[in-house]
Structure formats: structure tokens, C-alpha cells
């Protein structure tokens, strides 16, 4: 068979294949976008209902575009009775303090476990490893009892403190520092730098991406946590957002749909902003840790 003939046939074959590939590319694109729209329906409903009168929320057929568009649900949930401003502020306080505390303690400990050599290090680290299998849920009962006994029950500290010192954060930071070269420290030690300086001037500046990953994870866990405040918090002035949201269902189980959805939108917005702004860090954080809060 002549050489040119073969290559011609192959060229024709590959152009056909390319055409077929473009076709599947577009058809699967359309399919995926259709699926994505179905996926988003709950959020569309959330926003749409928050802009309706309560009476229109369960109209048959569904009214997707509110008519008239009413903003008063937002005014109500922000200024009215059961305002979510206080819970919002509480959620911010808890999340921010947790992030700062977690980043500080986990970074220092993770660095020491990875880069410093001291007696008992491996034993302590082994105990950390063993503890990491214990679910937070199991610790909820004893933490409740202890906080109740020492007077921390129903305070924001009961949410902040256990979230500031985590085995998981320490692990993630240790994994990061283990992968950094030891030569930097050796060189700095020869120059007479203190251990603190080596940590804060040499290694810490390298940890930016890892710190933002851990910070994002901690913030999201804290912001979305429902179970811990449900157990630890009882009075309305200490409510965090998820707790305040769940409180929109009254004792009879009835829901004021538009108010609940307006409050839900407000609770979702900060996370969405963080997600959209820091998308790459966010996704790196989730995939590298593979952990749900």
C-alpha cells in the first residue's frame, strides 16, 4: 500500500473523529447545563420566595418570578422581631475567632511536629493520630456536661473553644511543613537565628496557600455548624445563624415561607462570596483535605 494513501485515510478518519467529538462535546454540554439548572432550582426557589408575599409562596402553579417583587421580607428579618442581625454578628465572631485561633495553634504545632526534634514528639503525635478517629459527635455529650459544670454553657465560648484547637488542622499543617526542605533551617541556625525566628521568618511565609486553605475550611465549618449550637446554646441572644434560621419554624411546625427564605439567602451570601472570590483556594482546600465539617 502506498504511503500517501495510508496517511490520507488516516487524515480523513481523524477529521471525521474530530467532527464527532465536537458533536458530543456540544451535546454533552447542553445536557450538563440542563442538569445544572435542575440542580439550582432549590436556590432559585429560595430567592424567588424571599421576594414574594407569604400568600404567594405556595401558589399553584408555581410562580417563579415574583409578582409583585416585595423586599419587605428582608426588612423584616433584619429589623423585625426575631431579627437575624444578632445571630449574624454572633456567627461572624465565632467564625473569625475560630479561624485566628486555629491558624495560630495549628501552624505552630504542625511546624513543631514536622520540623523540630524534641523528646516525646512522636509519642504525642501518635496520641493525636489515635484521637483523630473520634467523631466530634461522640464528644458533644461530655463537652456539654463539662461546659455546663464550668459555666460556659450558652456562651459563644462554648462554640469557639473546641473549634480553636483541632487535631485535623495540626495534621494538615504538619503535612505541609514536612514537605519543606530542612536546609533552610540548618542554614539559619548556623547564622544563629532563634527557633522562633526560623519559624516566623523562614517557614511561615511559605505557608500562605496552606493557611488560606485551612482558614477557609475552618470558616465554612464554623459558619455552617448546626449541631454544636443546637446542643450548647439556649438563649436567643447567643444564637448563631443556623440556629436562628431553624427557629423560623414555630412550635406548630408552620413556616413563614418568605421570611425563612429571606433569612436563608442572607445566611448563604457570605459563603457564596468567599467561594466566588477564593474559588481556586477553596477547591484546593476541599480536595486536599477531603473532609466535611
Amino acid at each position: 500500500m502506498p504511503r500517501e494513501y495510508v496517511s490520507e485515510e488516516r487524515a480523513e478518519h481523524s477529521s471525521k473523529r474530530r467532527r464527532r467529538r465536537t458533536l458530543t462535546r456540544w451535546s454533552s454540554g447542553v445536557l450538563l447545563w440542563a442538569l445544572a439548572i435542575i440542580f439550582l432550582i432549590p436556590f432559585v426557589w429560595m430567592v424567588s420566595t424571599s421576594l414574594k408575599n407569604n400568600a404567594d409562596a405556595f401558589k399553584i402553579p408555581v410562580q417563579w418570578i415574583p409578582d409583585p417583587v416585595r423586599w419587605h421580607s428582608y426588612v423584616d428579618v433584619l429589623t423585625g422581631e426575631g431579627s437575624i442581625v444578632r445571630p449574624f454578628v454572633n456567627s461572624v465572631i465565632v467564625a473569625v475567632v475560630r479561624v485566628i485561633g486555629e491558624l495560630t495553634t495549628a501552624t505552630m504545632a504542625g511546624y513543631a511536629f514536622a520540623r523540630l526534634h524534641f523528646k516525646g514528639r512522636d509519642a504525642v503525635f501518635f496520641i493525636y493520630l489515635a484521637t483523630s478517629t473520634v467523631p466530634a459527635q461522640l464528644l458533644l455529650v461530655p463537652r456539654f456536661v463539662i461546659f455546663q459544670q464550668v459555666g460556659l454553657y450558652d456562651t459563644l465560648l462554648s462554640l469557639i473553644l473546641p473549634g480553636m484547637f483541632t487535631v485535623l488542622g495540626t495534621f494538615l499543617m504538619r503535612q505541609f511543613f514536612v514537605a519543606q526542605p530542612a536546609e533552610f533551617a540548618d542554614a539559619a541556625r548556623v547564622d544563629g537565628a532563634s527557633e522562633w525566628k526560623i519559624f516566623s521568618r523562614v517557614y511561615l511565609p511559605l505557608a500562605g496557600p496552606m493557611l488560606s486553605a485551612l482558614g477557609i475550611l475552618t470558616f465554612v465549618w464554623s459558619w455552617n455548624d448546626y449541631e454544636t449550637p443546637l446542643v450548647m446554646i439556649s438563649s436567643e441572644k447567643t444564637y448563631t445563624l443556623p440556629l436562628a434560621l431553624s427557629n423560623f419554624v414555630d412550635d406548630q411546625g408552620a413556616i413563614s415561607a418568605n421570611l425563612t427564605m429571606a433569612a436563608s439567602v442572607v445566611s448563604v451570601i457570605p459563603i457564596l462570596i468567599i467561594f466566588l472570590l477564593l474559588q481556586r483556594h477553596f477547591i484546593a482546600a476541599i480536595t486536599s483535605s477531603g473532609i466535611k465539617g
Partner: protein, 319 residues
Amino acid sequence: MSSALLTTVRSATAGPKSHGRNTSHPGLNIQRSGWWFIAPNLAGIVLFTFIPLLAVIFLSFTDWNLVSGVRGIKLVGIRNFTEVFQDPQFGASVVRTVLYAGVSVPLAIVFGLALAIALNRDIPGRGALRSIFFIPYIVNQVAIGMTWLMLMNPSAGVVNQILHSLGMQNAPAWFASSHWALPALILVAIWSEVGYVSLIYLSALQDAPADLYEAAEIDGANTWHRFLTVTWPALVPTTVFLVITELIGKSQTFGLVALLTNGGPGDSSTVVSFYMYQTAFKFYRFGYAAATGMVVFVGVLLLLSIAWATQRRSGRNAS
């Protein structure tokens, strides 16, 4: 938190070992500063993890209702544990949890994998699509729960309106029906988890060797054959990781149950963590709740170690 161990195991081989030159002559100040560095973290972990852990172990051998104060704690030996194993409500809640996890985890993983493979192609708006599917995972459960509660309202919810318009006469009452409460919870769980699963698979797919694909393509392997011989082997570790972490996560499902069904109707959706919660915070049986928690924790740990061991053995036999 339980998957920290896995994370470490997964990446244990990633970095070079830290034993550098300085191992041979650790200076005194390194010795001391090591402890200073871990002190804040260690103190917190001792106070809020170690001590509670010892406390829950201790509590599981006691009978205590909180109201009677610390002096009212009565040691009862292993009575709580014998009761746990004879408690039909506990047994039923374990069965429901197994059902819930056993259905939702495989489905989320299969759909997530399919989605990841689709998104791994050069599709218009790929980045945006990836984000859209991921959003349910990062939104708080209360907002999600409230929304689905309304969407799945038996009479006027959007879901049943659609089913009615498709000609279904008696659409399920979802969270209000003792038959449909658990399946409805599973649906919501899958919806919120699929994007996460696909994201994890996507990052694994992008690590998969591209030249292997080209080789298979030149061999003329069809898509399915290519998936089985090239893609799937590269995804097995990710799948094992996902199955284990998802099963751990699902065995602790609490928020959606508490919000959407409160364990009901009746106790038709009382999963084991919700049963434990009720035992402690509704009936104030703290000792018994601690024992239930211990049994579940040890049970999950045992199951996982068995799964881990069999998986390793079968892996060794295959190679």
C-alpha cells in the same frame, strides 16, 4: 474530624522525611522550643478533646440524668452496654442508618463519577458548571433543609406539582410519610453531595496519565474499554477514600434529620445519631447516651478496619 487519620495515611508518603542532619545533635533550645510550639495546641486538645473523651468513656459506665448534679452520678458497670444490645429502638435506628448510608453513598459516588467524567471533557462553561454542582455542598444545612421542606411539601410543593402535572395521581407525602421520609432524606443528601464527589474525582482524573489514553486510543479501544482499563484503575484509590469518608460522614447524619423530619413520622427516620441526641438531650439519660455513642464509634471503627484489611489483602492477591 475522623478522616484526619486517612488524610495522613493518604499523604504519608508525599513529603521527604524530616530527619535531616540536625537529628544527630538536637540543641537544648530546640528541645525546649519544640514543646513551646505545641503547648497552645496541646493544652486546647487536652482540655476539649482528651478530657471529654475520658469523660464519655466514664459516663458510659454510669447512670446519670444531669438534673441530680455531679453527686448523682451512679456507677452501673456494663449495664448500659447490655441494654444497648437489647434495645430494639437502638437496633432499628442502626438499621435505618445502614440503609441511609448504604443507599446514598453508592449513588452519590456513581453520579459524582459520571459527572466528573463529563466535566473532564472540553465542555463550554466547564468551570461554571463545576461550581454550580458544588454549591449545595457548601451551603448550610438549615437553609438547604428549609428549602427542601417547602419544595417537597406534600400538597403545594414544587416537586409534587411537577409530579401531578406529569400525571402521577398520588404523589408521595415525602417528609410527612413514614414510608417516604428516609428516601426523601437520601435524595436531599445525594443532591448536596454529588458536586463534592465529582470535584474529588476531577482532581484525580487530572492526575491520570494522559499518554495512557493516547496509547489506548491508538489501539482503537472503545470508550467503555478505555474506561475499564485506563481510567478506572487510576481512580480506585480515590474511590476507596471517598467510600470510607462518606460512610463515616453518613453514619453521623444528624442535621438534616433533626431539621426535616425530627426523626419521624413516628420514628421512621430516627437514625442512630439522632437517637443518641434524643437519649441525651430529650430524656436526659446521659450515661446511656454515652454508651450508645461508644458502641457506634467502636462499631464503625471495627467495620472500617475489616474493610481496610480485606481491601489490602485482595489488592495484594491481584498484583
